[in-house]
Point group: C2
Chain length 346, copies 2
């Protein structure tokens, strides 16, 4: 008998493609045309439906699991609560939407202290309050370990929605903030290093700030042709965006924004800061594409201090793939090596 | 030092009350008035928000965990997929809403076979197709055991929405379908009995049919003053409804609908079928309250075969609590003994 094909063999993105294909087959088989209210289904940062004309409802959901997504030895309950909301806010940000409401489902062992749960929710309320969103529901269940499942709803005028698939060859590639801090921060926490020395890196991992203000600003000004949030890492997420837009890309390492602290940290351990910036996950910065004619508008916003963003490359034809020009001037192919939850082959 | 208060000491509903209170305190502390778009927050079957005037958006979310909610030895992947959608459809049904879209988040070990995952989704697609809803998104992550988190969106005209809190003293209490089958079915599966003898009971546990058609029919005809779905069990869910409506209730055992198969099964093991009906969980039938003046309208629908429902009691003043008149004519107080995920004291 043949060995069954395991999820670990096809990887996270193989599984998602398969689900998407099966969902479409199912619709065809039963002759149900796709619901016209669905603007955007499986495969972008959030799903979008159109319950009322003109205004889209955005929905995103994310699970955070103990050991997979957080470690109680490295983050406080407050930080975990904060981050669980932030990662979902980031998905709404990547569509350019206004976050509105959230639901929280918890899996608990029952042995958690009530005070720890209060802190978990205080962290959620804090992140929620910053973004002006309200907790409207959820559910709780007994689980062998702590798990948090968040559903976040947002909205956006239909004509302002930004998808992963709208980019064109020639568009400039921008990123908000600085890259690599979160991955380095996790390393520092895991090594139990004194945090004071590299202040800022661990907190970027523990309490990332979702770029909902920036995402909204960009969408409102109709600047990006495509956008994605950096949850898996620049190399992986750029590859998702490039595939969905049918383009290639060329990055300039020297333009990738690296924080002074990350430079100092990398130097202290003899590492290359660009490795963190290219492949480190959980940044929750926004990666977006800007058509040439919209660049002046964006650069004006940057000049006015309304958004912190920097051009890191350009989109090129798909056949050229994704290229990086290193600090040494050499050009090489970038292989996505961000996070895939199931793939054993790295 | 005092021992910390554990979640298991305050129980599932104690925790939910605490979250609700803290969420409200948070809003007051930061002087944010509650978002006027929130019609209904924490504490009903689904949350309801009002993104567009007149039409409510309903949102519900539920996690299903291996061992807690399902057992791979007792249910197939197809059945688990079907049930995971059904339990969420049931929450929308309890508000009287029209289910529309769903998102699926999976936690997987990676060792699952791809074919098992296909069957899981086939079960979801089947339940979704029956109800006319579409999969629009989700996410996947690595987990130590299988977990499924579903978010379901529905809609309802604002003036038709049915909550848990609208019942009044004097209203008649009705229930759809028959009660106790699911709990008996689980017992049969756990005892590894030959299923043929009591056909129907195990499948009510494995693939419950959500009453979204019935919930919608009732709401459209503006019949129920309050409604809840029976997920925790009649005694528990009636107590939730009674508390939220500020009423008591009096049940008549002889009127509780029991299937012939459950009667036969209970007799064969020397058990009382009403114990299953009063306290068995995971029924996913609807329990609803009907004001006297709406009874004729409901009875006409029942006569026409449009809905299968039966009166099982009446609402009485809160101070009288929840009473049951047994088959022997004796009246006793009903204590909620349905499912609480964390409470150790039973």
């Amino acid at each position: 008998m043949a060995r069954p094909l395991r999820v670990s063999s096809i990887g996270e993105f193989g599984l998602i493609r398969r689900i998407k294909k099966n969902a479409q087959k199912q619709l065809e088989r039963v002759c149900v045309p796709c619901d016209p209210a669905i603007l955007l289904g499986i495969g972008d940062d959030a799903a979008a439906v159109l319950p009322s004309p003109g205004n889209c409802l955005l929905v995103t959901t994310d699970i955070l699991l103990e050991k997979t997504h957080f470690d109680l030895a490295l983050s406080s309950f407050f930080q975990i609560g904060y981050k669980s909301i932030a990662v979902n806010l980031s998905d709404i940000a990547a569509m350019g939407g206004v976050p509105r409401f959230y639901l929280v489902s918890l899996g608990l062992t029952g042995k958690e202290s009530v005070s720890d749960m209060d802190h978990l929710y205080q962290g959620m309320f804090w992140a929620g309050h910053e973004a002006g969103i309200s907790l409207i529901g959820g559910n709780t269940a007994r689980s062998a370990f702590l798990l948090i499942s968040i559903t976040l709803l947002g909205e956006i005028p239909k004509n302002e929605m930004v998808m992963r698939s709208g980019a064109n060859v020639g568009d400039c590639l921008y990123v908000t903030g600085t890259l690599g801090d979160s991955a380095a921060g996790l390393e520092i926490l895991q090594k139990r290093m004194r945090k004071g020395t590299f202040r800022g890196l661990p907190s970027k991992h523990q309490m990332p700030m979702a770029r909902w203000r920036e995402g909204r600003l960009l969408a409102q000004n109709q600047i990006p042709s495509a956008m994605i949030d950096l949850s898996d890492g620049l190399s992986s997420d750029l590859s998702h965006l490039a595939i969905q837009s049918g383009v290639g890309a060329r990055l300039e390492c020297k333009n990738i924004p690296i924080s002074p602290t990350l430079k100092r940290y990398a130097k202290s351990i003899g590492a290359n800061p660009y490795d963190y910036a290219l492949h480190g996950g959980e940044e929750y910065e926004l990666l977006f594409c800007v058509p040439e004619e919209k660049r002046d508008k964006l650069e004006a916003l940057i000049q006015n201090g309304e958004i912190e963003a920097r051009q890191i490359g350009k989109l090129i034809p798909k056949r050229n793939g994704i290229l990086v020009k290193g600090i040494d001037g050499a050009i090489y192919k970038l292989r996505p090596s961000g996070y895939d939850h199931f793939n054993e082959k790295r």
